[in-house]
Point group: C2
Chain length 478, copies 2
């Protein structure tokens, strides 16, 4: 039995949410929430719970079932196992939801300088790169350091039409063909896309490439626990069974209709009140942990793309959506906290606090005669970082700034699974409270069409002329 | 003569600001600015210009003169020249303003995977690390990959009391002493701190360490063009003369009292109007360039810590300050643009567009039979990225979302110097418009004191008891 399968260990690893610093007891009545406001949430949260349960049981929200997908996970594990020891590098090509989850898991669960470790230190696992953009300087730099003959590439796009990913794909097919020969492409290229349709699926068939499936009905921002996020994780040695067990453990808690026992419900309800009743339109996620920083980046997409909507389900124009901001403790105490403490009352800060670090670092007892720093000697970096987290809570709260804290016993695959599932489920609840569709993204079409027009795609000639006419030479410049 | 000394080249490299997409001509009268509003800015901007000039000429704002500091720059260059070829690694220890500028310059001007290049590819220049936090997992990971015998460490703190930096310093003194012997510390450790006072200065004297000076009156967030930011730049081969020449070129433009010719004045005036007259409390900086992403991070500190203030100069409580947000194009089109296009009208987005990339990447003409992607073949990554930038401008503007664009002819030390100086000068102007002190940070004291209390520093016992009483066990958790 693996450590994470022990129910006692699982209980000790439960992520908790503390929101005392959002309440009027600590913030005063003007910036704090009252128990009456909390009670007022019960009915809408209860309705949301019911509606989501119905959608789930009728198969309309398949992301809920991802912790229990045996078949696709088996495929991912088999591919990773077969590849073990064969590659020096793994490159994940994708953008947005096809990259953010991978980066989040990789940075949380692998060595901070994974790619700079020697092959021996990496235990034969490949270096992992997810360029996540089409910046030519950045992409060229990647090709300077990887030997494509020793590289496995995973291309991820559900539609097979994403301009950035397909451009990357075209470049990599060309470069890999030159490096290893066209007939060897199937040994180096794995495609993750729609089950049946799309350009990438067709090309994979033509070239004989291995394919993994992005399940139907799971949008990019909810896809980290599908092959989209799991393949790079498995390649780099992350225990994806442990990750999914963490998600399942959180799912269990989120089945409760009682907000006091359901962290996702609470997270959604509290953030909704802060935004809609208190005008806090900025939601800062501030982990005191470098390993969790890119979780905040992954959350940015989840929260922004799900809740940033022009119309509600009744077609009424609402232009809603809090703006997620990522910050890093303690670093951003020296950058953002001045504003958080003294600026407008427009923020809700959610801390992530890690109770136990994997390897703490002792501060030696040096310079005992120097008053200003002697107190540091004999303590540890972990203790300092957590004292700073607590101190920032104190500073924000004493200045009536709303904040809450997700307490993470330790950073591991099990707690990452919990955090991911918690935030996904919270997003679904929040969508219900706003009464919007949290699973579409109609606002990105305008930009896509303009890109097609400017890149000369057939059928977009009129759009191009329209843009050229409206966006002529600017009189306003310096 | 170096290329950057040619006036023609300099003119071709001038950074421009285009704000047509903030005006009512394009956004309509509700979200756009009128020419009347722009005219209304002339008087306050004129007064700001006068006040800042007076402060500058009376020596109260020494950051303005940093492009012309010969002595300190000479010291930096001499140290870097003497160290050339001697070290495999350079570690910069500092936090906030003592790290963000270094990271910004390094990521903009060195190879994207600099630390993964071979020594030969790096031309003997050291790898560069700026951990910028006290996360123990992150710091331990760094010690896994650097050989301290081949490492030069620069410790940066003006006061010599910064808890995070001095903890890092204590660890590094201990580890270096074990690796190279205490008597060899001066060969590996360089201190950047106050000219005369503070614990770090005292320790440097005792240990015989080389010291560089943080000039008086230049706060952390304005210090990138002092030895604070210049030493790591010089170590990694960045031409700091070119950087300072870029800053000087921008200074020349910012001496103009005419907003139409002074980009810093314009930037400040426009962002002020958007915030105070249009309620856009979120300022997104969105470079379409991975190399400029950390400039947006550096700007976050500059903007937030300078403008986030509780009281104005008359002592009136104002709780002002826009919240800076960093975003990355094209990546964040797949994460944030849905919200930017459809969410609340609470944002001003400032794009950074790079006209010429150092190395473009051609997209091969493959898959000509696939309609959805064939149009990409024969184009380039640079063209795609810039089409996406233009397309996002179109999408935002057609949805009445305020945006402007800093146009950067190419990313090099000269344009980086311009951008840094422009944004610093803009911050000073904005401080005048808000009538606040843009150069202090009183709001960080509360958190520092709470940290001292929780870490058991002498003299903070009462504070500790107060915290323990106010922040006891929480009833609000799940």
């Amino acid at each position: 039995m693996a450590k994470w399968q022990d129910p006692k260990w699982q209980a000790a690893m439960a992520v908790g949410l503390d929101y005392a610093n959002m309440m009027s007891e600590r913030l005063g009545t003007k910036q704090g929430l009252s128990t009456v406001q909390l009670k007022g949430l019960r009915a809408p949260l209860g309705a949301a719970h019911k509606a989501l349960n119905l959608a789930r049981t009728t198969g309309k929200l398949p992301f809920y079932e991802l912790p229990y997908e045996k078949k696709r996970v088996g495929e991912v594990k088999a591919i990773a196992a077969a590849a073990k020891g064969k590659f020096e590098n793994f490159i994940g090509l994708g953008i947005g939801g096809s990259a953010l989850g991978n980066l989040c898991l990789h940075s949380a669960l692998n060595h901070f300088h994974h790619n700079e470790l020697s092959a021996k230190q990496r235990k034969g696992l490949p270096r992992v790169y997810v360029p996540d953009n089409v910046d030519p300087d950045r992409m060229n730099a990647l090709f300077d350091i990887v030997n494509l003959k020793k590289t496995c590439v995973n291309v991820v796009t559900k539609s097979g039409n994403t301009a950035e990913t397909m451009s990357q794909f075209m470049v990599i097919v060309d470069k890999l063909s030159k490096a290893v020969g066209r007939k060897n492409l199937p040994k180096h290229l794995i495609v993750t896309t729609d089950r049946e349709k799309g350009n990438l699926k067709d090309i994979a068939r033509e070239l004989g490439l291995m394919t993994l499936e992005v399940p139907d009905g799971v949008g990019g921002r909810f896809s980290v626990l599908t092959p989209v996020g799991l393949l790079s994780a498995a390649f780099s040695g992350i225990d994806i069974d442990e990750l999914l067990a963490g998600a399942a453990a959180m799912d269990k808690r989120c089945l409760s209709p009682d907000p006091a026992k359901n962290p996702a419900m609470l997270f959604a309800g509290l953030t909704y009140l802060a935004t809609e009743e208190q005008g806090k339109n900025i939601h800062v996620m501030m982990p005191y942990s470098n390993r969790l920083y890119l979780l905040a980046d992954w959350f940015r997409q989840l929260w922004a793309e799900s809740l940033g909507k022009r119309v509600n389900r009744k077609g009424k124009v609402v232009n809603c959506g809090p703006t997620p901001v990522k910050a890093l403790g303690a670093t951003d105490q020296h950058s953002q906290v001045q504003l958080y403490v003294e600026g407008p009352y427009d923020k809700l800060t959610c801390f992530l606090r890690v109770e136990n670090f994997e390897r703490d670092l002792a501060i030696p007892r040096l310079f005992k005669d120097k008053d200003g720093i002697a107190y540091l000697g004999g303590q540890s970096f972990g203790a300092l970082l957590n004292a700073e987290q607590a101190a920032t809570e104190v500073a924000l709260t004493q200045n009536q700034r709303s904040n809450m804290c997700l307490k993470v016993p330790a950073v591991n695959a099990f707690t990452m699974g919990q955090l991911i599932y918690l935030l996904e489920a919270a997003t679904a609840y929040a969508g219900e409270l706003y009464n919007i569709d949290a699973f579409d993204q109609p606002g990105v079409e305008a930009g896509k069409n303009a890109t097609y027009a400017l890149m000369g795609k057939k059928g977009f000639e009129a759009k191009r002329r329209e843009i050229e006419q409206s966006f002529g030479k600017s009189r306003y410049r310096a």
